[in-house]
């Protein structure tokens, strides 16, 4: 077994995330690669254990007959087996395809059929059932591997099933019989080889598989963790991160799998998305990437708990946060760095509330905080800057392996997504205002969709991002998605996401969808946040039963009207939301209203709530 820990003599080949893990296992075999919480304890996995498991599973893949270029699909929550299954596939030259654990069977069948996956790694009975339900339509699917045996072992008789434990045994047997087979496969890998298919979330139309090569991934790793990368000094083995966003999304794959392999950062898997606040407090990560929804939720937690605190605590908190707001203003003007004055104010606020607050939020030790994957409101970022956690907004998409631009420490400008990476060329299309990027991280095309590929990458190699933006002092500001830009009946161009984000700053609002394309004026469908509004209603002694009942209360409508009026006050008359309706239910992925990444499918929403929308444009609807 020790022989495998030596750097392979053939290891002069292409650097991949797998060779990076192998090298770490040689250099720091006992170092902590990751932690996952089991029965209340954070169990550690060392680099050598990690590498050992990757080798076992890679050998098992060879034993199953997985060939170079075959697709291996993984549908699981974030856990160490996800990383092992992924890296083992890359080791033998296969292509990893990630599925969201929330994907319903209809989407599972699309992704599995489209990718032609031969192997599926399913987390548990729930995920396995989805695949089995549709497996008749998937002739290419030969092997079904499952990680959690509960409910499966002894009950399911499908011949394609193999448990994770059996898989490891099989791998060990193969490893004993064919030592070095995996290392040989690794040495054959070329930078142009396909490494993973990442399916776009598909706000419009069916998801497409973006092909990322080994070279794309290495380019992104170099851009984000290099000397001019996200933070200086770069992340290292002493840093901790929390992994909780879906691993099949390019952002989390970067921040969990690739960052871990490239920098040695200790990855900690959250128990589930619902336990993120608790896990954050336990882990106190030094490196924290979150989507806007999480930042908004953290801010809402502060606001709600703050308003419910006893008088003394509330007053101390208000004073501390007022100081923080001043700190934020000073830091914002200084690129996210402290000035002498802001440092002093921050010191006072630190003693008053900020230290305790950051401890409670789990941000006490954060050294780099990032936000991306969706537009975020400046007010949210400003709050966190005030408590000494400057959030660096980053920009990228699956099609350029998520490396386009980033705010750099000390050069933050809120509202922009920062400066392009050194390896990335970026320009704005003169005609349409579309953001175009070019560089080594630009993807190889869409899987089996040359038509879509041709639309995305032009003859000169420029990737059409579909986002509209402007450059300010070399920093990019994204206005909106190109297809979301609305032209009102009056002929005005309106970017809805800015208005929507301004409304969503309120902790009482969960969703806001602005409508107004080819309409006389703007309206909005608004979804309230059940926890905070329910809390508010209880304090106001408003009786309610269900979510729908709550949305129908006149008081709640008044409350939301107040928020909308507040936002309207800062907008041009054409951009103001003239009237709105509350959505009668929480939007849901299962119902096709949201994508797996919780983005709103506008078309589905417009279709489903047509009467509601039309009622806002009928006579007398405008208040």
């Amino acid at each position: 077994m020790t022989t495998t820990l030596e750097p392979s003599t053939q290891g002069t080949g292409t650097t991949t995330v797998v060779t990076r893990v192998r090298d770490r296992a040689c250099e720091t075999p006992t170092g902590v690669a990751m932690r996952s919480k089991e029965k209340g304890l954070w169990r550690e996995t060392s680099w050598s254990q990690y590498w050992d498991d990757v080798l076992d599973v890679a050998h098992a893949y060879l034993d199953l007959g997985v060939q170079r270029g075959d697709r291996v699909a993984i549908q699981s929550e974030n856990r160490r087996e996800w990383l092992v299954a992924d890296l083992a596939a890359v080791a033998v030259g296969a292509v990893t395809v990630g599925l969201y654990p929330t994907n319903p069977p209809a989407e599972v069948v699309h992704v599995l059929r489209d990718s032609g996956a031969r192997v599926l790694v399913a987390e548990d009975q729930e995920q396995l059932d989805k695949a089995l339900e549709v497996s008749a339509e998937l002739p290419a699917l030969e092997h079904l591997l499952y990680i959690e045996p509960r409910g499966i072992r002894g009950r399911y008789t499908d011949a394609r099933l193999t448990s994770w434990a059996d898989l490891l045994d099989r791998g060990r047997a193969h490893r004993a019989a064919h030592p070095g087979a995996v290392e040989q496969a690794m040495a054959q890998t070329q930078p142009g080889d396909l490494m993973t298919l990442i399916y776009t979330s598909g706000t419009t139309g069916a998801p497409k598989g973006a092909m990322l090569t080994v070279g794309n991934v290495e380019a992104t790793i170099a851009a984000l963790t290099g000397p001019a990368g996200l933070l200086d000094p770069p992340a290292g083995p002493k840093d901790l991160s929390l992994s909780y966003l879906p691993l099949c999304h390019v952002a989390e794959r970067i921040f969990t799998t690739w960052n871990n392999a490239a920098t040695g950062i200790q990855v900690n898997f959250a128990e589930s998305i619902d336990t993120v606040p608790e896990n954050l407090r336990e882990i106190q990560p030094t490196f924290f990437f979150a989507v806007p929804r999480i930042w908004e939720k953290l801010l809402a937690t502060v606001q709600v708990k703050q308003s419910a605190a006893s008088t003394l605590k509330r007053n101390a908190g208000n004073l501390g946060l007022a100081l923080s707001a001043k700190v934020a203003t000073a830091m914002e003007a200084n690129g996210g760095k402290h000035t002498a004055g802001s440092r002093l104010l921050h010191g006072i606020a630190w003693v008053l509330v900020v230290r305790a607050l950051r401890d409670r939020l789990g941000l006490r030790r954060v050294r780099w905080a990032g936000c991306g994957a969706a537009p975020v409101s400046v007010d949210v970022l400003r709050f966190f800057m005030g408590i000494g956690v400057p959030v660096h907004e980053v920009y990228g998409m699956t099609e350029n392996t998520a490396s386009a631009t980033a705010n750099r420490p000390g050069r933050i400008r809120l509202g922009t997504v920062g400066e392009p990476h050194d390896s990335v060329e970026l320009r704005i299309d003169e005609g349409t205002g579309e953001v175009l990027t070019r560089g080594p991280a630009t993807f190889a095309g869409y899987w089996n969709r040359p038509d879509a590929t041709a639309e995305a990458i032009d003859a000169d190699g420029w990737l059409h991002t579909g986002d509209v933006g402007v450059l300010e002092d070399g920093r990019l500001r994204i206005t909106d998605r190109m297809k979301d830009i609305m032209i009102t009946a009056g002929g005005k161009n309106v970017a809805p996401s800015e208005i929507e984000n301004a409304v969503k700053v309120s902790p009482l609002i969960k969703e806001c969808v602005v409508i107004g394309d080819r309409r006389p004026y703007l309206t909005a469908l608004i979804g309230i946040e059940p926890d905070t509004v329910g809390d508010w209603a209880q304090k106001q002694r408003i009786a309610f039963t269900t979510y729908r009942d709550l949305t129908e209360r006149a008081e709640v409508k008044e409350l939301v009207q107040g928020i909308v009026d507040g936002v309207n006050a800062g907008l041009n008359p054409v951009e103001q939301i003239k009237t709105f309706r509350l959505l009668p239910k929480l939007l849901d992925h299962e119902d096709g209203e949201l994508t797996a990444t919780q983005k709103v499918r506008r078309s589905a929403l417009a279709e489903r709530y047509t009467p509601l929308v039309e009622s806002m444009y009928s006579k007398g609807a405008r208040s």
Binding site: M1, P29, T30, G31, V32, R35, E38, G40, L41, W42, R43, E44, T45, S46, S48, Q49, D52, D53, D56, E148, W164, A165, L168, L240, Q266, R281, E282, I283, Q284, K305, Q306, A308, A309, S310, K313, A316, G317, G320, L352, V353, A356, L357, R360, R364, R365
Partner: protein, 389 residues
Amino acid sequence: MTAVREPSKSQTPAPAEAKGRRPLGRPMLYTQYGQDMALLNTGAKKVAVGVLLVVALLMPFLLEDDLLRLLATGCVLAIGAIGLNLVTGYAGQVSLGHAFFIGIGAYTAAVVSGDPEDDRLYGLGITFLPVWLLAGGLAAALVGFVVAPLASRLRGLYLAIVTLGLVFLGTHIWNEWDAVTGGVGVGRPAADPVLFGVDLSRRTESFSADQQLYLLMFVLLCVFALLGRNIARSAMGRSFAAVRDRDIAAEVTGVDVRRVKRRAFVISGFYAGCAGALLFSITGYLDPSSFGLLLSVQFVAMVLIGGVSTISGSIMGAFFIALLPRLTRELPEYLPFLSSSATQTPNVFQVETLLYGLLIVAFLLLEPRGLFGLWIRIRNYWKAWPFSY
């Protein structure tokens, strides 16, 4: 999962941190259960205990002798209170007979250390402290072992009444067995605290008697408190709690209820015996009337006021009760109608007795978790800062 991990664990080195280390500054990140169960599981606790120890060791050089004597008594009472808390607080077996066990310890120690030349009283003449301390403890533990079967047959109120009976039984024996106790109104000398040839109850060149006694009792309290805490946080303590919360459920989960109750009484008896042996070596003299119902009630008060099923609460309660007389003595200065003489009414001794009752009632009504509960409230207030929950 775990079954999968085992084989490769044996082949590859485990992470260095698996040996109980964890990333710095993350008190809520546990990589082993031991970290959660540790005696001093947070940094704040380590600092606080360290500071307390230093302050306690400086006391003899800062305070007057009469206060030191009071604190020494407090230390001994704390040992007894921990014993009662183990059986009543942790194991849930209400015992009003604690005074009986205290008496057994006190008289056993007195007999072991007593003067063999004296014709009137029994005495073995072994004045070496550890010997008579252990003898007192073991004798009371043995009685605890004998009494324990009562607890396996009776519960709650009935057990309380029966243990109350022990106190009266004891009072009768102490009153009548003159050869051991010296008889009512006469009494006998208590055990002599002699350690390696030095009688700690007599002044030496560098320390006064009270300084020596305080230090002795404080060290013994530390030993017994540590022992109690370890009993409470180990498998035995968990089985105590299981029996307390629901004995039938405990039995179903594999706890031998009879054995647990027996252990609780034996351990509690041992603590009481040791406390009894030490308590009177401070004053040097003991009288049969000391072991009445009032002593039992005082111990119950210590546990309830301090905090049920907490070791630190028992200590707080014991010191509170020990220092209470001192506080009531000051009362006549502020409340002129109170007398400090026992022959007049109302007097401070009556107030003192009343206060035990009132405090028990007040704590049970307002803060059932006792002084420890008050501390928890204060701690949680700051822990939740800047929120309320």
